[in-house]
């Protein structure tokens, strides 16, 4: 049976293309009328704004500014004008900005400030006078680091440094902290991009794993920092958390192309860490933090489904990945039940969504195992704790139903549950390469 989300999208697409209308769609899915109709009305109500255009004068001015900027930096893109050795070419390719950094570091040394100066700078923080020297020495190290593997590792080392800086400033320097967060983003992004450029599959898999494990640690550290930071620093910490999370997901998708089982294992570690976080914060009535952890939990559960699909597409035997997912989702349900009991009313919906995602993932994993006759002692339906209200249980076990008021007459499959866990697989795209800074 189709999920509500799929029916909804199908109807929206037909209506937008003029092939159908709300009434015709609802006639086709009468059981979903109550839920479908208001959402379709909203969707139809979202219309393109009137044709807002930039002024001609602005377009010319902005183009001129852009061209001026490009030409002023053009030299950095041009090839070195004379023959170089292979190593020198690599260094030259690093561009003028790197050379400028080297020059700055050399100037610092020549000016008699020497190694001690650079050494002292290593403890500096954004906003300190010595901080530019610290960054320059990092550029210096980049210039003399050759090869994607070494470059990726170096960026991860620098990302750790940025995190240390963030940790040192959480209580005192809310303004300067954003500088460290921006640096963190640059370092982890450069780290994963270098890893993605590696041609050797074994080497790239190792690095994807490193990026995934490092960012998992970062998530935990940032959780702790978020708890102790001043109010003014919170949004920067949250931004760093988002960066670590998205890089983590990207690394796992990349890793899955080489080693899906390892990607699934790490994903489960991260899922556990999000659940721990949700439970701990729910116990302290930190509603927003608990909700954020649960939303990330849900995204990772769906990522687990994608990893299984990626594994399948690559022709791997998915039994191990599916078994791992099936056992884990069963265990998650118990913890989510505990969180549900402690969550305030407004958070319960987020917990229910997480349970629903878990049940769907369980269903998909069980389906995969059944196909191979490897179901063993894994329960067909995830064990939902007894103290969860019946209507919520029904919603969780009925993919696509969306609120606790769901009536059995609408879905017509009351206890259908896990067997219907439709795959949400999509295309499992690697998602890499949106490389803006």
């Amino acid at each position: 049976m189709k999920k509500l989300a799929d029916i909804l999208i199908e109807c929206i697409e037909e209506i937008r293309s003029g092939r159908s209308n709300i009434a015709a769609c609802i006639d086709r899915y009468p059981a979903w009328r109550r839920k479908l109709e208001p959402l379709l009305e909203i969707a139809v109500g979202i219309q393109e704004p009137p044709d807002v255009s930039p002024s001609h004068e602005f377009k010319l001015r902005a183009r001129a500014n852009l061209m001026e900027h490009i030409h002023s930096t053009e030299l950095s893109r041009k090839p070195w004008p004379f023959e170089l050795t292979a190593r020198a070419k690599q260094i030259a390719w690093a561009g003028r900005s790197k050379l400028a950094a080297v020059a700055l570091a050399i100037i610092a040394t020549v000016c008699g400030l020497g190694g001690g100066f650079a050494y002292a700078a290593q403890d500096s923080l954004p906003g300190d006078n010595l901080y530019p020297v610290k960054i320059s020495t990092e550029e210096f190290r980049r210039v003399f680091t050759v090869g994607d593997v070494a470059e990726a590792e170096l960026e991860l080392t620098f990302a750790n440094r940025r995190l240390e800086e963030i940790a040192a400033m959480t209580k005192t320097e809310p303004d300067a902290i954003s500088m460290a967060v921006n640096g963190y983003q640059r370092n982890v992004t450069a780290g994963i991009e270098r890893a993605e450029e590696i041609k050797n599959p074994a080497q790239s898999a190792n690095l994807f794993e490193s990026v995934a494990m490092v960012t998992l640690q970062h998530l935990k550290i940032l959780d702790s920092l978020h708890d102790v930071s001043s109010e003014n620093s919170q949004s920067s910490i949250e931004q760093a958390h988002e960066i670590a999370f998205s890089t983590h997901v990207r690394a796992l998708r990349d890793l899955a192309m080489e080693n899906p089982l390892r990607a699934a294992e790490i994903n489960l570690l991260t899922i556990d860490s999000r659940l721990d976080r949700a439970r701990a914060t729910a116990e302290q009535n930190e509603t927003e933090k608990a909700e954020l952890a649960l939303i990330q939990f849900e995204e990772l559960i769906r990522l687990g489904e994608d990893l299984s699909q990626i594994s399948k597409r690559l022709g791997h035997d998915t039994t191990d990945v599916d078994e791992l997912n099936a056992r884990a989702t069963a265990a998650h349900m118990e913890v989510l039940g505990l969180i549900y009991g402690k969550a305030p009313e407004q958070t319960k919906e987020v917990v229910e969504n997480a349970m629903e995602a878990s049940a769907e993932a369980h269903g998909q994993a069980v389906e995969g195992l059944q196909e191979k006759g490897a179901i063993d002692n894994i329960p067909q339906e995830p064990p939902i704790p007894d103290d969860i209200p019946e209507e919520v249980k029904e919603r969780i076990l009925t993919p696509g139903s969306e609120d606790s008021g769901g009536k059995s007459g609408e879905s017509g499959n009351g206890s259908g549950g896990s067997g219907q866990g439709s795959s949400n697989s999509g295309n499992g795209s690697s998602g890499s390469g949106n490389g803006q800074n």
């Binding site: 109500g45 979202i46 009137p50 807002v52 930039p54 902005a62 852009l66 893109r77 690697s430 998602g431």
Partner: protein, 191 residues
Amino acid sequence: MHHQDSANAEQINIDLLIQKATAGDANAFGRLYDMHVDRVYRHIYYRIGNVVDTEDLTQQVFLKAWQAIRRYKKTSSPFLAWLIRISHNLVVDFYRSKKHHVNLNHDLRDEDQESNPEQLTEVRFGQARMRAAIMQLPSEQQQVILMRFIEDFPFADIASSLGKSEGAIRVILHRALKKLRGILVNVEGER
């Protein structure tokens, strides 16, 4: 058929320009700017609501794009989707770093003076209310709604642009519509 051919030709042209721009050809990037500036501007204006900041952010989008163009992979998502992703990040930073508040009250100007004024007012009010509600969605839901309904990107492009599966995008869109409904019902209740 003819329309399809010209769309393909335009895509090939864009691919060629990207190739040249990646190799450092400023004129090629200028052509890409000419082809995409209106769409980027419109996207940002919808979310910011004032001309000055929209102009500033639009310029920043193309500067960032130029700086990052060597990392753009055309197999991942279309160039415009990539620009919209950069725009989204800049708008998020704009609201976050400068503590700006979303301008919920502006209406998006329609220069069509021929329309019936009463009808126009009603349409504007409805659109402003919808926009205000969209701006209250979480960032990711906002982006999916705008990319699908306002920018008209197919699901596959939204998915690749955001690094998610199409299935995940469908779920996000479903959630976003539910949330929008909740917001609009609340607004109705307060009136």
